[in-house]
Every structure is written in structure tokens, then in C-alpha cells.
């Protein structure tokens, strides 16, 4: 999916919500455990219920890898299901990969050819040649970690160099030489509040993938106040607060209600902008 298509989806549906498919076998409703593939079954129900209210889905790979072979299978089926039934939703593999060029090329093949997702999260620590192998694919995106939502983001990402530039700013600035706003997005945690202003000074146009509202406590209003652009420029993720909102047989229905609530907030925020 390219930038124009993504913006069109956001404007039509009046939402920039991404539903995080962080599906944990220990947290899904009991009654699903008798199904052949409980994780896939859960995902299908969540997707069908929330699709009208979101523009993107983001499975975090850890939750599937942790199940070994069968986890990998559930992921594969989930992505196929999305591709076949919801071709206008943007699919993000949240994998935070990044390795030497030779190896990043293998990851690119895995995610963009085999799995055929739209975007992949990538860690910047290893620099340019760990990132560029992901760039050779039409309408595929890299989402580079810039300023994450967790407490540890303060350990290195905020380190200032001799000129006063912080590491996350350097990542934003340097990586613009590798790809433009049609190919690259950045992860910026919703918990970072006013720092969105500083982010927008360096990347005024790029889409930001924003985790950290809901269970992690970030504020959607603040994110929009400091981070929204004329094209929206935001994909805001919520995982636990939506997919685990209810643990009964009504889980999908309640997830839909939660996603709908967020969508309505988003519609209002889009109108204000």
C-alpha cells in the first residue's frame, strides 16, 4: 500500500487506529482453547470485529515466535486472512529486525516476499547498511525505531551529542538520506508527549507509528496535538486495551466497541486538525 492509498483510507474511514495483534495463548478466552488453532481463531474474530474502525493491523512477532512452529503457522494464516479479506488494511510486522546487509536482505525476503506484509519495524542501531536492504520493494515500508514508548527509551535514545543533537533526532535526520516519506515511517511512543514537537521539526511529513496508548498510558489527544500533520501523519496502535478488553464469549464484540470508541475520538481529532 502506498502513501496516497493510506491517506485515503484514513480520511474515508475517519480513523488512524492500528490494532495490535499481540495474541498470547495465556490471555485469550478459555472457550477458544478447544479450537484447532486458538490463536488464529482469536485473530480472525478480532479482525472481523474491528476492521471497520481501524486502518492497520500489527502482529508483534514475539507473540508468534514464542509458540514455535505452531505460532509461526498461526501468524502465516492470520496474514493470509487479512490479505484475502481485508486488502485495504495496512499490515505491519512488528519485528524490530536489523542486521548486517547480507542478513537484512534475508529478513526483507522473508517479510516482503514470503509473508507479503506492507511494513516492517526495524531497529536503527546498526546503521545504514542494516536498513537499506529493506528498501528495494515497491510500496513496502520500513518503520524505524526512533523514540520508543518504554522507560528504557531514556537510556540511549535521549543521549545528546556534542552539538546537542539527541540520538533519536540523529536517527531521524540521518535516515532521511536513505529513504523518503513514501517508504519510511518512524516509531514514536505515545508516552513521549511534547517531544512530538521536536520530532516534527526533523520529520514534518513522515508517518509516525505510535504505540503506547491504552495499557502503556500515553494520551491520544497529546499525540495529535503535537504530532498530527495535514495528512494525519499518524498511525496509532492499541493492543491490549482492545483485544483483551473482555475475556468472555463476547470478547470480539467488546473489542469492536473499544475500537469504535477510539475511532470516534480519532474522527473528532481529525476534524479539529
Amino acid at each position: 500500500m502506498n502513501r496516497q492509498e493510506l491517506i485515503k483510507e484514513i480520511k474515508q474511514k475517519q480513523t488512524f487506529l492500528c490494532v495490535g495483534l499481540d495474541t498470547d495463548i495465556k490471555k485469550i478466552p478459555q472457550h477458544l482453547l478447544s479450537e484447532e488453532d486458538p490463536i488464529y481463531c482469536f485473530n480472525q474474530a478480532i479482525i472481523d470485529a474491528t476492521a471497520p474502525y481501524c486502518v492497520a493491523y500489527k502482529p508483534n512477532l514475539a507473540f508468534y515466535e514464542c509458540g514455535g512452529l505452531s505460532g509461526w503457522k498461526s501468524l502465516d494464516k492470520t496474514i493470509r486472512y487479512l490479505r484475502e479479506n481485508y486488502p485495504h488494511h495496512f499490515i505491519i510486522a512488528d519485528a524490530k529486525r536489523g542486521d548486517i546487509g547480507n542478513t537484512s536482505k534475508m529478513y526483507a525476503r522473508c517479510f516482503f516476499e514470503e509473508m507479503d506484509v506492507d511494513a516492517l519495524t526495524v531497529a536503527p542501531y546498526m546503521g545504514e547498511d542494516s536498513v537499506t536492504p529493506f528498501l528495494g520493494y515497491t510500496d513496502k515500508w520500513i518503520i524505524l525505531l526512533a523514540l520508543t514508548s518504554n522507560k528504557g527509551s531514556q537510556d540511549f535514545q535521549l543521549t545528546e551529542d556534542a552539538t546537542g543533537e539527541r540520538l533519536f533526532e540523529k536517527v531521524l535526520r540521518r535516515s532521511q538520506q536513505w529513504a523518503d516519506a513514501d517508504r519510511m515511517m518512524y516509531v514514536v511512543g505515545a508516552t513521549q508527549g511534547k517531544l512530538f514537537e521536536d520530532i516534527r521539526k526533523v520529520v514534518p511529513e513522515h508517518f509516525l507509528l505510535v504505540p503506547g496508548i491504552g495499557a502503556q498510558g500515553g494520551s491520544l489527544e497529546e499525540v495529535c496535538k503535537y504530532g498530527m500533520t495535514k495528512d494525519c501523519g499518524l498511525i496509532v496502535n492499541s493492543s491490549r486495551a482492545i483485544i483483551y478488553a473482555d475475556n468472555s464469549e463476547r470478547f470480539a464484540e467488546v473489542a469492536a466497541e473499544k475500537a469504535h470508541e477510539v475511532q470516534q475520538q480519532m474522527a473528532a481529532l481529525l476534524k479539529q486538525s
Copy 2:
């Protein structure tokens, strides 16, 4: 495997070689392609041939993930094969993972419980709470990226802060508050030459996992000159130069010869130290 056991293996076998199992279906000998699981078959042969000359094996996850379900299966079988037949070899999953605490916990479960490898490579960009979930396991190790072997290592890892401390030094220094030398190692590329001296100023005792000799051009002598400790303190990885040394039916034999050559150089370097 704990630190004392690892040091004992190194001293007994007079080698600190790690063979990188970066097994690519496009590069293995043709005659294996008729096997049911060519990747596993190749790995078995490489392992049997090189085991006397190395202390560790390091599958890079990208090469398996890229094969989807069947790749994941080959990895699983390879690790089982190592566990059952070579229990004194150290197994490193080169995955370069790292995510928010909640997610890192899932990765830890995947690699240390399901797969039962000895060590996992982890990216430091997200800071303390992305790393510490990996630390709750007895005799399991984290290998944190510090100064990598690729050109892009210069993009961010060498950035100096206002006090003159470079990012890789900050990673080394800060992370020592999270775990000691019995639980943590660092990735330092063989291509970094004299910078090993600076590394040893910050982490005089820790083991370093050193990729980048062989195909990437790093020098084993230089690594040892500047990086070796009284307990060796090094695990030096070679992948392509060993596993793809020959592409005929003799591939395993030639891999053994190459590994043996490296082992002999290492024995000489251990004696000099």
C-alpha cells in the same frame, strides 16, 4: 552453559571458534536439494565435521525465518541435534531481538524455554527494560550489540556525547548495571581493530562475541592482540568462510579443514597470551 564451563571448553579444545550456521538454500551444494530437509541436512554435516574445532554454533535467525514454516522447522531440528549430540557446545541464537518488557519476555520464553539455546543476541536501542526480561534464566546469556562489524556501525554507535563518551561505550557501561560478566556478553565486530583496546577499558572481563573474520575481512590476530583476556574472553565467529568453503559433495570435509586451520591459529594465539 556457565562461564566456567565455557572457559574450560576453550582451554581443553584450544579453540574459541564459533561456526555461524547462516544456511542459505541458494548457497548449499546442489546434491542436497533432493533431501527432505536440505538445510537441516547441510547443518548436520557441517556440525559433525566442525565440532572438534569449535566451542559454539550460531544460527542467524534470518536465514531460517526466510524459509517460513519449513525454515523454522529446520532451525528447531538443528538445535535439537546440537543439544542431543553436542551438549558441550554453546548455542547462540543470533536474533538481535529487543522490544518493550512485555514483548521481550515473550522472546525470552521462545529462545530460552522453547528452543533452549544458551545465548541470544539483543539490540540495545530500547534500553534497560527491553533487556532485563532476558535475564531471569540460570546459565542463559544475553549478548548485547555494542560495536558491530558493518560499515553502518559508524552511523550511530560512534556518536560522542557531550562528555566524549561514544554510544557503544555508553551501552557497555550502562548495561553492566543490568547483569554481570556471568550473564552478559557483547558483540564487537572483528573489523573494529584497535577499538578493542577501548572496549577492554570498559569491560575488562566480559566475553565478546566477535563476528567479521573471514568474508567480512577482520583480522584474528588483531582481535586477539587488543581483545584477549586471561580467560580468553573471546568467541570468534566465522560463517561463510567455513560453511561455504566448498560447494561439492566434499563440502563438509572442506569445512572441517577450514575450521581446523582456524583452530590451529587460535591454539597458537592462546599460547602466546
